[in-house]
Symmetry: C2
Subunit: 718 residues, 2 copies
């Protein structure tokens, strides 16, 4: 029997056809795909030879499979043969040339393909092209089909399962592309044994294959160790192959496999996203990857079909403004149309979530706390207290990022890489990714003695993890999380407790951060903050340096210019303007005396590989130390219309009342209230633990992990 | 008779009323005003005392008049008394308090008001509040009206025409606010003699008043000497007062006054705008001011009513997405609705235009050349070869800026100022505006011997101007302009000739720039380029400095860090990525040997007043020199979707064939053609002048200002 479309049947195709020309999400999706495919079809067909990563040849092969994948389905949906002809003609050219290409010269650890410098890309090519072929095979002659099978598909299947068979069963995000490509191509060429191989592994012994991959790649929470950027890359073949297995091996009941591990991990990925849909750049990651990625579009469509719809899924579809051109996407599109007809679908407000890490969920976690202000704007606080992300791991345990008003405020630098920009080292990772972007000082964390956590030793970092203390998000006034990291600097325990406080007098949740370092000897602690925008004011004098030197020689410090610095005694205030928004940071430590240093990246950057970005750090020297700071979001500036309101904010002061092994107590003063926050430092505390601490002759008592007291100043004064 | 609405009659009010709730531009405008006014009305009324510029009090008075102005008309349009009550109540509070406020303490050269630190703002208050009063006066009791007149309006009229009478007749952009405020208030309080005074001046001797202002402020081209940023500030009271005079002194036929000077100057202002509607930051100016400014909305509405509609006006209305809430705006809204019903209204494509300067149009000009690429995207090239902009003038004669793909590529820094940001020196001009932003080196120009044009002497700069050579924009292949500036550096003549070339093989017009310096002795020439984004590649080795020093000690150089530099021999290539777009610059000079220096602003900036921005300059040392460069726009990068195409561009080389007093000849080589451009350097040339020059034994001959020859390489090779 001639190969039939692998992913959809006749009824489903007809249902999609009815969407053509409509203004639904599916209608818009189809129109957009038609526009893109036709623009590409207007170019002469080309199957080029070898090229550099990110170069013309690389891009062309990628475009070829991308548009074949869409054209195959567009042929079915529109019944216009021009799309089928495009796929047929291009496949014929590949059949003519493929075996004339030798394998690329090996340049990195990934085996090389005949089209691409690494087989990962060749897997992508095969998965998408097999799907396209399945859509148009019925329009090809027997000989045309056989030529493509003999000269492209079979050689590729052989390469992936024999020549590179040793790599096929590796549990890795790349591995999902391998099994998806081989399994789907097997179906396309009428050799279902390849699908079996892909699902169960070459050896059928649970060490490889799709089922082993999805069983082992994710934590019980669904979190993927390398972070959302790599997670979203794996999610596409995962969802596509899942849908194929669902249709062709229904006996596996894949969507319910292992307590719905697929739905669980899609949900986990989505739950990391900032309110605007971008993913926090945890570990090596682009700053702009988000749920609009095509893979996440597929995942959201699959999730909505097989795991149920809700307003957050619909909100994501709204951001995506597209769906997967597939029956799963149609289900989502229909649900969206029905929903907007009866109510307003806003941006998603994803609940706060703690995603545990490790095969058993006991190797720390990633915390995502969200809180809305009165206007509905979502502030999101992210803290990493889980595992090191393997080869892509950044050394930033207890690092945080903070987002509100549509922008990341305490920022991740993201990776040192221009993906697919050929003149920038072929789009590969740049040296500065290691020497700067992954170092502790590049993050919103405390760097001890100008070194990196675990001395930038990946093996050591992989062997340790953070220890969750509490994650509490049910109060209207205060939400927060706390964790320890005791194995990241020798002989030093670290604990970070971060909160968002909803105070009546403030326009947005106040970020409160307590970073405690506890151990032997004297150290230098750099409490750093990666911001963006223009410094508006400070409450201390600083000196801008007349010539610039680096802040240090190693561990990322060699890339930081020391731009300006000032001594502080007590709380230091740094206020800045980021786009339309004012932010004021007030920070101090138990050392009282310290130094604020303003830095800028770009030193020792011989090829302009770094972006020029500012940061400031509060440096304290001494024994065990508690840093305490608040970050207020306030006011508004519009340069275009020359409007500015509330440029100074409401928070006046922050004081550390005391900190010891039991607890830390800080006091925040605003224009109208005094806020006392007491936090447990006792790693064995529970919700029932009673805390009593005395600082400066005053006793503070509470039950549970923390306590909040707000005293209204005007009522005090009366 | 009770005061009636000054700007619209009953029929017009009814016509506006019919727009409420519609989706027309006027309907959207009314809805937007209602939303804004209601949000403000929800706050408690407040008439505060003195405050800092940009501070709460300043902002509040400004908001009070802004929303009274809208509320007055909304009362008429909606017939809802709540808007009238808001105006009445607020006026009553002003009446109670105004005379209890003493005059502010003088802080700058502008006289002080009782509400604001300078009477300019008090003029604004009076104009808008008088208009609001005229809309609601019929709802007030005689006593309420008299109280406001006695305690606010009359004292203000007296202040402006008696106490500060010496300032009232000054010909200046501020002067238009003064006459508009006084004339309109006079009508509102039933004292038309104030309107007469405003129109004809206090002395009625043509040295002051509105007619003198509009006769003298603008060049014959309509250009305003201080540039678009200040022009758009003056255009609002100008148009409002014009409409008042049109209605209350129809005998003046104001819209035809002096050959339609009002329409002419509005047209001139609009014709400076970049394709996205933003104004080039000529002289002291914000980088984000554009046609969406409320004043320009009023101007576009007035223009369309009294001077005629066209697709560029409609395109601007599309960018504005609003109109003036007035019969003039309704006319525009109706025209827009009619137009979009029958055709697509795109962004405006304003014709290229040369705007002459000076009272007689003989003091140089500002040139604006525009060219579209195949996709319709507009490239705009701006060159200043006119006058110095008085106290707000930058020292950048022959400076250029370049815009395409929705962004400024060769950039203006804009002013050193955060308008209305109170903690930044009360929102006033910062020291760095003089020490950096206005200096020659801050611009895309050539700085000679590390000094500023005219040694930063405003009086000297005001006394000289550029000399237009040619401005030719009628060819499909090549558009360009050329000018001399011979009095800006002692003993040195300068000529800049800039072109856009449409070459088949390029994605966008190629910018070609020939900058010639001619005079006695040896000099250092810094040919600088203000860009934004990330350096992608160069064709020469450079060394990033291990420590940063400033590039010099004065004339703006003290604010530039010397980041990296490299020696070049022949054409230097610098390629960068700005957002989604690659740009490649190839530049050389007759000196061959030179140095490329990469700089960044921020040195000697003790209060973080400067933005951190990159630039590069090609430095040549020697006698008379010609710099020649091209700037290619190519390719596409999308980080979010990880796409990159054509990252390297098509242009390979640029060579100076020769340059002398008669002409300059350069050759550009692309992957597929060799382009020769010959340009006349003869200041007395005309379209009929024959040029013959011999360089390296080859003779180049042409008639007119320049000639272009394109040789296809593949045809040559055959």
């Amino acid at each position: 029997m001639t190969t039939q479309p692998i992913l959809l049947n006749e009824d489903e195709i007809e249902a999609l056809r009815r969407e053509v020309g409509t203004s639904t999400l599916m209608g818009k999706t189809i129109a957009s795909h038609i526009k893109d495919v036709e623009a590409f079809m207007a170019l002469p067909l080309d199957v080029p030879g070898h090229g550099e990563a990110g170069g013309y040849e690389h891009n062309r092969h990628k475009q070829n499979y991308t548009y074949m994948n869409l054209a195959g389905r567009l042929f079915l949906v529109t019944q216009d043969d021009k799309y089928a002809k495009f796929v047929r003609d291009l496949l014929a050219m590949y059949a003519e040339k493929y075996l004339t290409f030798d394998f690329h010269v090996q340049k990195n650890t990934n085996p090389t393909g005949r089209l691409f410098h690494q087989i990962l890309n060749e897997h992508c090519w095969l998965m998408f092209t097999s799907l396209a072929y399945s859509c148009v095979a019925s329009t090809m002659s027997e000989q045309e089909r056989q030529t493509v099978i003999d000269r492209v598909f079979d050689p590729m299947l052989d390469m992936f399962t024999v020549k590179y068979g040793h790599d096929f069963d590796r549990i890795h995000n790349h591995g999902i592309w391998a099994v998806a490509a081989v399994g789907i191509c097997g179906l396309a060429v009428g050799k279902p044994e390849y699908l079996e191989m892909s699902v169960y592994g070459l050896e059928r012994n649970e060490t490889g294959g799709f089922l082993a991959q999805i069983s082992k790649l994710f934590a019980p929470s669904g979190y993927y160790i390398e972070g959302p950027y790599y997670h979203r890359y794996a999610i596409r073949p995962l969802c596509v192959l899942a849908e194929v297995v669902h249709r062709h091996m229904p006996e596996l009941d894949i969507y319910n496999y292992k307590d719905q591990v697929i739905g669980n991990t899609v949900q986990a990925l989505l739950s990391t996203a900032y309110p605007n849909g971008e993913f926090p750049a945890l570990n090596d990651a682009s700053r702009t990857m988000g749920i609009t990625d095509m893979g996440v579009q597929v995942a959201v469509s699959v999730y909505s079909k097989h795991y149920g719809m809700n307003d957050n899924i619909l909100g994501m579809a709204k951001i995506q403004d597209k769906v997967w051109m597939h029956p799963c996407g149609l289900e989502l599109s229909n649900a969206y149309e029905a929903a907007v007809a009866e109510r307003k679908i806003g941006l998603p407000f994803i609940p706060s979530v703690e995603l545990n890490e490790g095969p058993n969920g006991d190797r720390g976690a990633q915390g995502f706390v969200r809180m809305q202000d009165k206007t509905g704007d979502v502030s999101q606080l992210v803290m990493n207290y889980g595992q090191h992300g393997m080869g892509h791991g950044n050394f930033d345990t207890l690092g945080i990022s903070f987002f509100n008003r549509g922008q990341e405020v305490l920022r991740e630098y993201g990776f040192g890489r221009w993906v697919n920009v050929e003149p920038k080292f072929g789009g590969r990772y740049l040296d500065e990714n290691k020497s700067y972007a992954r170092q502790t000082i590049a993050h919103n964390a405390v760097t001890v003695d100008q070194t990196c956590q675990n001395n930038f030793d990946v093996a050591k970092a992989d062997s340790v993890h953070g220890l969750p203390h509490f994650f509490k998000v049910d109060d209207e006034r205060i939400n927060g999380m706390s964790a320890f990291a005791n194995e990241h600097y020798d002989g030093l325990g670290m604990q970070r407790s971060v909160f968002m406080l909803n105070l009546d007098e403030l326009e947005a949740p106040l970020l409160l951060d307590l970073y405690r370092l506890n151990g032997e000897g004297e150290h230098q602690y750099d409490y750093s903050h990666q911001y963006q925008g223009q410094v508006i004011r400070t409450n201390f004098d600083y000196q801008a340096n007349q010539e610039l030197h680096t802040l240090g020689d190693d561990f990322g410090y060699q890339h930081l210019w020391n731009v300006a610095s000032g001594q502080v005694d007590g709380p230091a205030l740094v206020s800045w303007l980021q786009n339309n928004q004012y932010y004021t940071w007030l920070g101090t430590s138990t050392q009282q005396q310290g130094e604020v240093i303003f830095t800028r990246t770009g030193a020792n950057d011989p090829s302009f590989n770094l972006r020029s970005e500012p940061a400031f750090l509060l440096r304290a020297k001494g024994k065990s130390t508690l840093f305490a700071s608040v970050l207020e979001t306030h006011g508004y500036f519009n340069e275009e219309f020359e409007q500015s309101v509330n440029a100074r904010g409401q928070v006046d002061n922050i004081t550390v009342i005391g900190s010891n092994e039991i607890a830390s107590v800080v006091e925040i003063t605003t224009k109208s209230s005094t806020v006392t926050v007491m936090v447990s430092n006792n790693a064995s505390a529970t919700d029932a633990t009673e805390h009593n601490v005395e600082f400066n002759g005053k006793t503070f008592s509470w039950t549970g992990f923390y306590s909040l007291e707000i005293a209204n100043q005007s009522s005090q004064e009366k």
